[in-house]
Every structure is written in structure tokens, then in C-alpha cells.
Symmetry: C2
Subunit: 187 residues, 2 copies
DNA sequence: CGCGCGATTGAGTAATTTCAAATCTAGTGG
DNA sequence: CCACTAGATTTGAAATTACTCAATCGCGCG
């Protein structure tokens, strides 16, 4: 069950068996059922999660109770409320399962410890943080400059499997439009 | 003129004089006039820029010619078209001066070289990439869940100096609304 | 067969955009 | 000191777009 993690890390930095067991010793395996919460808005965020299988949504409930989707997290994705995780504070978002999901989780303490004893993993995390930053910028760009129509097409082109795995209602709240508006788009 | 960079890096990782001169040898100082372009949409992106003084805007011109502002970059900020920079490809955005601006620039080659010979700088860049990622997520969150009104207040609360330094038109295109709409908001 | 969930459709309402005109402001030269 | 201009901001009004609320449709499952 750790093989996915090794393959994933080795796409960026090669590892010896010893290094990899050093890594796995910092992670804990955990299983969740559909609809379970990994992170609850308002509560302390202790972990970052690496998704082995399944699907998560990172969501924010605004004052009026409406749900906004910041991101989906599927196989090989890292997800958490990063702001809360790195500052050891309370979550402004929730992280919830859309399917039964298996993850590896790591605490901030273990994350920092791992970076100390295995410096090359820092390069890996840098690569991940960078690509995450780039992806977020692209998302901002599309929110600012593209119509809901175009954003929908971009999303489905990039992650075709989402169309199969999640409801239109959820896609709408990722795109930032009401489900009725999404429904009226002509593909 | 490199002192700003040293102070900035040492907020995250301490440096010896030798280490710092190693760093500066990888950067080049450059001055720009107001309205100059550091990056032109469509052209190759060779550098990441550290802003010593002045103010930049990272913008995207859509098909209809409308300008969208992804980010402002002021003193101590790092900015570039990151996607294009890391993949050595052409810019989808432009980076332009709103004021006379002084920067230190580094190429991807020098960036990677520096990471090799000075591993502790990787931790610094990781910290920057992480906080950049978090900031982008917060921006997405506010685009999805807050009214233009609230976003405007959040922006001015977070960066009060922007109100002095840039026109309302630019703030509007950062917030994702027309300048007329911004003008009609009651503060 | 009927229930329940998600998706769609309709109609009225609210918010934003667009285009145009008017106003304000800072800097310039007489 | 004042008039003038260029650029930025504000205001007005029509047109577009998206939202909300409600009703209907479609489909899988007990």
C-alpha cells in the first residue's frame, strides 16, 4: 500500500530502499468511508494526506451555508487545509470523501523531521508545492478570464474522469456557478 | 542592493557570508522604468524576479483584449510566469512595471544550480512556494465565496498601500469586476 | 411500482456589464 | 493665479447574464 507513494516520489527524486523505509515510517495508513471527514471546518488540522485511492473534496461552507469546492483530490494527490496545517491552526475548510478513500497521512512534526533527516525529500516537496502553486494560479486565471462554459470544458478536458465520478452539482460549485446555470450550458 | 535579498532569505534560513555571496553570484541586478515589461505574453520566460523596490503587475490579456490581474508584486515578492519559467516555455502572462522597479533576477539554470550547491536554499524556496500556494488558495476561496464588496475590503485590509499606489481600474481587474461596478461599491 | 436523488426547465428577480456621458483631479503653460 | 487638458473616476440607463425558487423529468434501487 506504500508502493503508490514510492512510485509517486520517484517520479521526482530516486530513492534507495533504506530512504524509502525512512519515509514510510513517518506516514500512517488510514481508510475512510464515503462521506467521512478527514478535516472538519473549525477543528485543528493535524495532517497532510496523500491519496492512494478514492476521491476527496476540499470545501468551504460560507456564512449562508453554501458549499464551495476549492479542489478535488484524487489518486496521487496531496491535500489538506494547507494554511491551517502549516500554522497549526484551525481549519477554514473541510476535507471530505466523495468515495471510499485510502490515504497516507503525516503530521507537521514528522514532515519537518523527515525534511531534516532526508534533505532530498525537500526537493520533492518543493516540486509539489511549485506545481500546486502553478495549478492554483491557472485556476485564478480561468476564474478571472473565462466564462463558466469555458471553465467547464477546460475542467473536463483536464480531468475527464471527474465527469464520471462526481455529480454536476459538485462540478458547479467547483466552477463557481449554480447547478442550474451549469445545467443550461451547451456543451 | 543585495541586502534586501539577504534579509529576506534570513527570515527563513540563516546564512554565512560565504553562502550569501554564493547566492548573489547567481543573481543579476536590473532596473526598469514604469510601464516597462519584464515578461511579454507569448515570449520565452527566462527569469524569476525578486522585487527590491517598486511595483509590478502580473497580467493576462484575454482574446477580447481585456486585462486581468493575477497578482501585484511589491517589495520582497518573487514573481514570474511560473508555469512558463519552470517548463522553459512561452509566457501566457505579462509582467509589467507600475512604478520604476529594481529587481534581482535568476535563470532556471542558475536556480537549479544554486539548489544543488546550497541545499539549505531549497528549504527557503519550499517555504516561499508553500506560502504562495496558500495565498493562491485563499484567493480562489474569495473568488468563489465572497462578493466583490468583501473581496475589495479584504484586499485593502491586507495591502493598504495598494490603495495609494494603484488605480481603481487596476484594483477592479484584480478583483474580477468592471471598474464601473467597483466604483458603485459602498465602502 | 413507487421512492428519492440528481438533473433539467421555466419564470421572475437581482446583479453585473456595456456603452455613453458627466465629473473630478493633478499637472502644465499662459 | 487661472484656464486647459489628459487621465481617472463616477454616474446613468439599457441590455445581458446569472441567481433563486419552484416544478418537472429521468433513472436506479428497494
Amino acid at each position: 500500500m506504500h508502493n503508490e507513494l514510492r512510485r509517486h516520489i520517484e517520479e521526482i527524486v530516486p530513492l534507495t530502499d533504506n530512504e524509502f523505509s525512512l519515509i514510510t515510517s513517518h506516514f500512517t495508513f488510514q481508510k475512510f468511508k464515503k462521506n467521512d471527514f478527514l478535516i472538519h471546518q473549525g477543528e485543528r488540522v493535524k495532517h497532510t494526506y496523500f491519496v492512494i485511492s478514492g476521491l476527496l473534496k476540499l470545501i468551504y461552507h460560507d456564512e449562508s451555508g453554501k458549499e464551495h469546492i476549492l479542489s478535488f483530490a484524487m489518486e496521487d494527490w496531496w491535500e489538506t487545509d494547507y494554511r491551517a496545517f502549516y500554522t497549526t491552526s484551525n481549519a477554514t475548510m473541510s476535507l471530505q470523501c466523495l468515495e471510499d478513500t485510502e490515504v497516507l497521512r503525516i503530521t507537521l512534526e514528522d514532515y519537518l523531521h523527515l525534511c531534516t533527516i532526508l534533505p532530498k525529500i525537500v526537493s520533492f516537496f518543493l516540486e509539489k508545492a511549485t506545481s500546486g502553486h502553478i495549478a492554483s494560479q491557472q485556476r485564478i486565471l480561468s476564474l478571472l478570464s473565462s466564462s463558466a462554459q469555458d471553465r467547464y470544458e477546460q475542467l473536463l478536458h483536464r480531468y475527464p474522469s471527474l465527469f464520471q465520478r462526481v455529480s454536476k452539482t459538485l462540478l458547479a460549485s467547483y466552477l463557481g456557478v449554480s447547478r442550474e446555470t451549469l445545467s443550461r450550458l451547451t456543451l
